[in-house]
């Protein structure tokens, strides 16, 4: 092997790694990590601020809930006042009524508060992806956020903060901590209807003639931990739901702590519960924590998570050897997600799989704005609309199982990506398409792709063709 071809294959490995495990190379990233692509990915896991984003302008989920509650109350009051004023005017009294402290003049131009919040959160998320050097940890955040998804359709103001509070701090920690954080987060409790679930024999259940909602318990078993058809029964679901009664949030209209997680003993079904053959004493909140801890270390959970990780990062049908390695890594390390990530990026199978995985829409969009450097030029609303157009609206999956990782879910939408590529790439009309091709694909680019990009009729078209090339769409 000549020195040149050796360098080329090293660069090809670097480019593959950056697309498969990150958001795609920019600048001279391929050359920079060619000497040791695995080492570069491992180093990404060791950054002191890994997974964190600048949240200085963002509200906590509880504060957001309180502010939105106040915002809605004010709106209702304004409407009521306006109606009253209408009556006053009709009755001939010209004095206009005003909300105390309300400013006169033009009506507010800003979008409603929940929308402002989600736009700021989305901006912070896109910024993190656009500016990440490699983006492995950010990709893990996206993975876990989708695995433990909530939806803006239920509560738009909560989804961004949920990701920052329940996902980001734990993506390189232990799975059990991630699981505890997620299942006790108000956004999840609202999304999967646990806030009003109460034991039929609890104080509140008796007084209100209300009872159980199984949703959170079922999805925790089926989607978040063990996986479907892994052997749990309806009784396990019901009993686990009893365990989780009382896990709710303080009403957002309450000052100071409204919107925060709270365990309400009054809602909690009294007594021991048997889940997966094990008896859990009624220790209140800790009863649920104990079940979650056991679910986190269950072999079925390890297998389920390993499969999903391998599918997301490597292939629709992941190599069984890789799934086994990840499962073993998960069990051996007691769910240490950093160790599992290390296994993922160093396993031979992770690198040997052909570059066939179709990037899901959001990941592809992030790759486009990174490569073209257009992040500052494209309003966040436009980026979110692009995700809608591609069938993957941000933080709004159609069901609790999140967005699919399978090519079949996304390939029919590829033609719609052409318009978005044209629009976004067109904004980077000063970029050198062939330089960007080198930055992005390097030796991975086929001769046909090089030719196609080189012969485009404008820079804009060249960039659109580049990000629509099979080597860029797939990883």
């Amino acid at each position: 092997m000549s020195a040149n071809s050796g360098l080329n294959s090293a660069k090809a490995a670097a480019a593959l790694g950056l697309h498969r495990f990150g958001f795609g190379p920019v600048g001279d990233a391929i050359a920079a990590i060619a000497a040791d692509p695995r080492g570069a990915l491992l180093a990404d896991l060791e950054r002191p601020d890994a997974g964190q984003i600048d949240a200085s302008n963002l509200m906590s989920s509880a504060k957001a809930a309180r502010e939105v509650s106040d915002f809605r109350a004010e709106r209702r009051a304004e409407q009521k006042l306006a109606a009253r004023q209408q009556q006053v005017t009709e009755s001939g009294d010209g004095q206009a009524a005003k909300l105390p402290g309300a400013e006169s003049g033009a009506p507010a131009q800003k979008p409603p508060l929940p929308q402002q919040i989600i736009l700021s959160e989305a901006k912070a998320r896109f910024d993190a992806a656009a500016n990440a050097e490699i983006g492995l940890v950010e990709r893990l955040v996206w993975f876990w956020s989708n695995h433990f998804c909530v939806s803006a359709d239920k509560d738009a103001a909560a989804v961004g903060a949920y990701e920052r509070e329940a996902i980001r701090p734990y993506v390189l920690g232990h799975f059990v901590d991630l699981l505890q954080a997620v299942e006790s987060h108000p956004a999840m409790l609202v999304y999967l209807d646990n806030v009003l679930s109460m034991g039929a024999d609890s104080i509140a259940g008796i007084n209100q003639d209300k009872g159980l909602n199984e949703n959170l318990a079922r999805e925790t078993l089926e989607l978040h931990t063990l996986g479907v058809r892994s052997g749990y029964t309806q009784a396990d679901v019901t009993n686990f739901a009893q365990v989780l009664t009382g896990w709710t949030r303080l009403r957002p209209e309450e000052p100071v702590h409204g919107g925060e997680f709270v365990f309400v003993r009054r809602f909690h079904e009294p007594g021991d519960q048997i889940v997966l053959g094990k008896r859990y004493m009624d220790t209140g909140l800790d009863q649920g924590r104990a079940v979650l801890a056991d679910l986190a270390r269950h072999p079925a959970t390890a297998q389920h998570i390993a499969e999903k990780l391998a599918r997301h990062f490597v292939a629709d049908d992941p190599p069984p050897a890789l799934v086994n390695k990840l499962t073993k890594s998960f069990l051996d390390s007691e769910g240490d997600l950093k160790q599992v990530a290390r296994t993922l990026v160093t396993a031979e199978e992770s690198w040997a799989a052909p570059r066939q995985r179709l990037k899901p829409p959001a990941e592809w969009i992030a790759g486009v704005i990174r490569l073209t450097g257009t992040e500052a030029d494209i309003p966040i609303g436009r980026l979110m609309n692009a995700q809608v157009a591609l069938g993957a609206p941000l933080w709004r999956p159609p069901a609790p199982n999140g967005y699919s990782d399978m090519e079949a879910a996304w390939i029919d939408g590829v033609p719609r990506r052409i318009d978005i590529a044209t629009e976004f790439a067109g904004r980077a009309s000063r970029a050198e398409p062939l330089e960007l091709l080198e930055s992005s694909l390097g030796p991975l680019a086929s001769a046909q792709t090089r030719e196609t990009v080189a012969h485009a009729e404008s820079r804009g078209q060249a960039l659109a063709l580049l990000v629509m090339a099979p080597e860029f769409l797939r990883r």
Binding site: P415, D419, R430, Q461, L465
Partner: protein, 408 residues
């Protein structure tokens, strides 16, 4: 239709490309004139010989064969003078020509002599002799030099550009405001065709998906089918051209609106099934003609003070290639339209079409420097200083004299 002047806030909110200068033709105004100037960049290289055909050149038919526009046949070209005729897709430009409101400068080119679109567009828009050397365009720098002293009311005269991307020609030191059409033009059929070719070579699955989608394209052109098109068809391109150019005209027409603007229209790279008399180029030229008509209509009374310059990075091969198209060439046409012109003329130092006459035995030979045309308009229409044009707008062009007599 009433159009309100964009407020500063609206302009800042807009995401596209409208550029405002605080300085404008003071000298012209002192003369009691209020000139408007619009630059339209055609990206992809316009086939000048298919746009304005030298129908009386003895070598014309031999050169282009049955693709040559003539004054006879099913779609006769529109006669301009004893030598040249206009593509039949452009009746409105023809009417302007007959009303002395249009000038065609043939066999013109920038100083660029290679054949890369990217570099060619760089030169066309930067006004510099070398590609990739500039972050600013000649139009911006020409305006910046128009009034050497400080800025006046920023809500006064403005430079203006239309389109989702700010063309290089208007970028530069003079501050810029932008406006973008509401409609985002879908990817062009050309882009889809190029991708399809790539997918067929490299990724059968993607090719299959794109093919399935492309079948919807014809249906898409029929209103009411409700199907999503994968590419912008001729109707959409026509509507986009008209909206972009028409809106620019509405802004420029306002008493206190901008006075100079630019926009770019894509799609002119006709390597394959060019469709000169009928087909792709014909539709594009028709869309451009319609856009010019829209500009005239929307300018209203200001049309008599208007010059629009329609320019492209280079021309195409004189001969038709093996796929009924033309490849990248050299000289082409520049079109000028507007009521301020001393029009009704084709200006050409005609190089001829015999193999020996062609540049490198393949392209129409350039005999007129496009920069001379642009400098002529900037000097005589906007009253730009000739020295500034030679040193700032088009640096190093002291020997390229502004073409005189273009403006009435």
């Amino acid at each position: 239709m009433k159009l309100h002047a964009p407020s500063r806030r609206e302009l800042l909110l807009a995401s596209g490309a409208l550029f405002a200068w605080a300085h404008l033709p003071k000298i012209a105004r002192a003369e009691g004139r209020d000139p408007r100037f619009l630059t339209i960049i055609l990206r992809g290289a316009l086939d000048g010989l298919a746009t304005v055909a030298p129908v009386a050149d003895p070598d014309w038919l031999a050169l282009r064969g049955d693709k040559a526009l003539t004054l006879e046949g099913k779609t006769p070209a529109l006669k301009l003078d004893e030598f040249f005729a206009l593509n039949p897709a452009m009746p409105q430009l023809h009417s302007m020509f007959e009303a002395s409101e249009a000038i065609i400068v043939h066999a013109s080119a920038t100083p660029y002599r290679e054949r890369s679109h990217f570099d060619g567009q760089d030169l066309l828009e930067s006004g510099l002799p070398k590609p990739g050397a500039s972050e600013s365009g000649w139009l911006n720098r020409a305006l910046a030099g128009l009034t050497p002293a400080g800025r006046v009311d920023p809500r006064g005269s403005k430079l203006f550009a239309v389109g989702p991307v700010t063309p290089l020609v208007v970028r530069g030191p003079a501050p810029v405001l932008s406006w973008s059409p509401q409609r985002v033009l879908a990817a062009s059929e050309d882009t889809v065709r190029r991708l399809l070719a790539l997918y067929r070579d490299c990724d059968a699955k993607l090719a299959g998906v794109l093919e399935d989608n492309s079948k919807l394209v014809p249906a898409l052109e029929k209103p009411g089918t409700g199907q999503k098109a994968v590419a912008a068809g001729p109707g959409q391109v026509r509507a986009y051209f008209a909206e972009a150019a028409g809106t620019a005209a509405k802004f420029l027409a306002q008493p206190d609106g901008p006075r100079v603007g630019a926009l770019a229209l894509d799609g002119w790279d006709t390597h394959f099934n060019e469709g000169i008399a009928q087909g792709r180029l014909s539709q594009l030229l028709g869309a451009l003609d319609n856009a010019l008509g829209t500009i005239k209509a929307n300018m209203g009374a200001a049309w008599r003070e208007t010059v629009a310059a329609i320019v492209t990075e280079f021309g195409r091969t004189a001969r038709i290639n093996g796929t009924d198209g033309t490849d990248h060439g050299t000289a082409t046409v520049a079109l000028l339209a507007g009521g301020a012109l001393k029009g009704g003329r084709v200006i050409a130092d005609w190089p001829g079409l015999t193999p020996a006459d062609l540049y490198q035995d393949r392209d129409l030979k350039p005999t007129t420097d496009l920069r001379a045309v642009l400098k002529g308009v900037l000097r005589d229409h906007l009253r730009a200083d000739e020295k500034a044009l030679a040193q700032i707008a088009f640096p190093g062009t002291e020997t390229v004299k502004p073409m005189a007599g273009l403006v009435a």
